[in-house]
């Protein structure tokens, strides 16, 4: 849905250059040319250490609390080093809440949304990039215009449409409206246009259908763009809150974000359990972030998205 894109007029390619930042410090890891040649101590450390600490403290404190006993969380001054570590908080969350159900629901919604976007935006992006068809430019501009619309503006009628389709309180309500994003079409169309057209033309002359040109020639060359779209869609879907909040009401159909808020509502003072649940809800995102940091950074820079 909207709310996740570079406002029209800003060169996406320019922002995507962040990759070079990533590349340069990746490179330095390999060659040891820059980082290890840098100063062992620089005044900038005095700036960066407090910044890094401020960024990390909330997460470290969450981790610490997630292994404390309830009693330890209710002490002031706070217990900074719990002993022994109460790992049972994690299993308590799993047994006291439908956490596993929320997790599975979120995975289903996220995987379906990512897969749908990759497929539908590839097809549409290819049509807008390569095929001349009636009404193409008008439709494309209309799609671009939807990028400017905040989700809250269309939220009420979208709710009514989904309600009329009989999908309220079902997982498809979370999937269907987000199955194809304008941003994805735009991103892939721009990328496809940078590919050399000769290869596709040659295959067409050899009798290949447009579908097989797309799937056998274009998409295999589009790895980075597809990865960027996948990562953004993943992040957006995994972290989405407002739409699930208005469409889902039974605990069994909730996503993690929605489940967490209801858990917070009913266990407002069980901080150890809340933190354990919070840690578990973040794990997949953090894991993927560390595995595919390059694509996350590029994706965040091109889409303007924040979880």
């Amino acid at each position: 849905m909207s709310g996740s894109t570079t406002p029209a007029g800003l060169p996406v390619a320019e922002l995507a250059e962040e990759n070079s930042a990533e590349r340069s410090h990746r490179g330095s890891r390999g060659s040891g040319r820059e980082a290890s040649g840098g100063f062992l101590f620089s005044p900038w450390h005095l700036v960066l250490i407090p910044v890094a600490v401020a960024m990390l403290i909330p997460m470290v404190w969450m981790l610490v609390t997630s292994v404390e006993t309830l009693h330890e969380t209710q002490r002031f001054p706070p217990v900074l080093l719990p002993h022994p570590l109460r790992l049972a908080n994690y299993s308590d969350v799993l047994s006291q809440t439908p956490f596993a159900r929320w997790f599975v629901n979120t995975v289903i919604v996220t995987v379906a949304t990512v897969a749908g976007n990759l497929l539908l935006c590839s097809l549409a992006g290819y049509a807008f990039a390569r095929i001349r068809f009636f009404g193409r430019d008008v439709v494309f501009i209309a799609i671009l215009a939807t990028l400017m619309i905040p989700f809250q503006v269309v939220m009420i009628p979208t709710f009514i449409i989904v309600h009329d389709l009989g999908l309220i309180n079902t997982l498809p309500a979370l999937i269907l409206p987000n199955l194809a994003q304008a941003f994805g079409i735009f991103l892939l169309r721009q990328f496809f246009r940078t590919l050399p057209v000769e290869l596709e033309e040659a295959a067409r002359i050899d009798g290949a259908s447009r579908l097989s040109v797309l799937f056998k020639i274009v998409l295999p060359l589009s790895g980075p763009a597809l990865a960027t779209l996948a990562v953004i869609t993943f992040l957006w879907t995994w972290n989405d809150f407002l739409w699930p909040l208005i469409t889902i009401y039974s605990p069994g159909n909730m996503t993690l974000q929605l489940g967490l808020t209801t858990f917070q509502g009913t266990h407002a003072s069980s901080w150890n359990l809340l933190m354990a649940a919070n840690v578990m809800s973040m794990l997949p995102v953090l894991l993927l972030f560390f595995l595919a940091q390059r694509y996350f950074i590029r994706g965040i820079a091109t889409s303007g998205l924040k979880g």
Binding site: L15, A35, L48, M55, A124, A142, V153, I156, Q181, N239
Partner: protein, 309 residues
Amino acid sequence: MQIPHRSAGPGNAGSRIRRILESDHVAGWAFAFPAVFLIFVFGIVPLIWSALLSFQQTNLIAPGRWVGLANFRYLSHDALFRQSVIHSLVYTALFVPISVAGGLFAAIALNRKIRGVRLYRTAVFVPVVLSTIATAIMFLWLLDPNFGLVNFLLGKIGLGPYGFFNSVNGALYSIAGMTVWGWIGFDVIIYLAALQSIPQGLVEAAEIDGARTWGMFRHITLPLLGPATLFLVVWSSINALQLFDEVYLLTSGGPGTSTYVVVYYLYTLAFQQGVAGYAAAIAYVLLVAILSLTLVQLWVGKRLVYYAS
């Protein structure tokens, strides 16, 4: 790729149908249709529908009644709406400059080639991928008035305790502080990209001409970061005006009405009180406000920002 050449078509009529089916118009629409249809149904139709709703009195389910401009007239003397607008503007006026300036500062520090810079960067980037809900739950505990770590640390230097999200005067500022924590990595990502695209030759030339650190920053770096700054100001403003998740989870608009913001008010109207027509009017006011703010910012930006090509 082994795709056999097609054999000649059967008859005249058949070949004409086939020619149509194989034409670019059909192929183009066949490829684009699923995505275009979905965006039409869940993007363009609701946009128009929302406009129609704003002239109606309706709940979410039953058919509405046309009331002309009544919803918009009512807006002008709805005290809670006026408060929500003020809170949204105050929040935006805090969040945008602090996160953009903070992001610039952090990006300049993180652009140094010093030991451990990768680690620092990761620390700054990580909050960007966390959800608003996860971040809010984390901060709710961190800023807990009774047992929170922050009050403990502030107590060490003789400050506090503060109520943070529980205090009428501090809740909105606490939310702003928290969202800056969550967003600053985004500003850093954009600024780092911009910093690294500054041509090295320019920097060296300025050094040869005797530019000092501050002069270099003021006259070389800052102007070249103009486009990135403009983007961040526009984009952060758009997002700040859409603040919702944090308010919903942390304060529910409270204490009192001290953190009612436009989208939270819109949500309570449409989905808790069933006043959908009035909420749609607010949604359209929000749309117009966001679009005009963006246009003003871009217009001012065009005068101030230098685009190197």
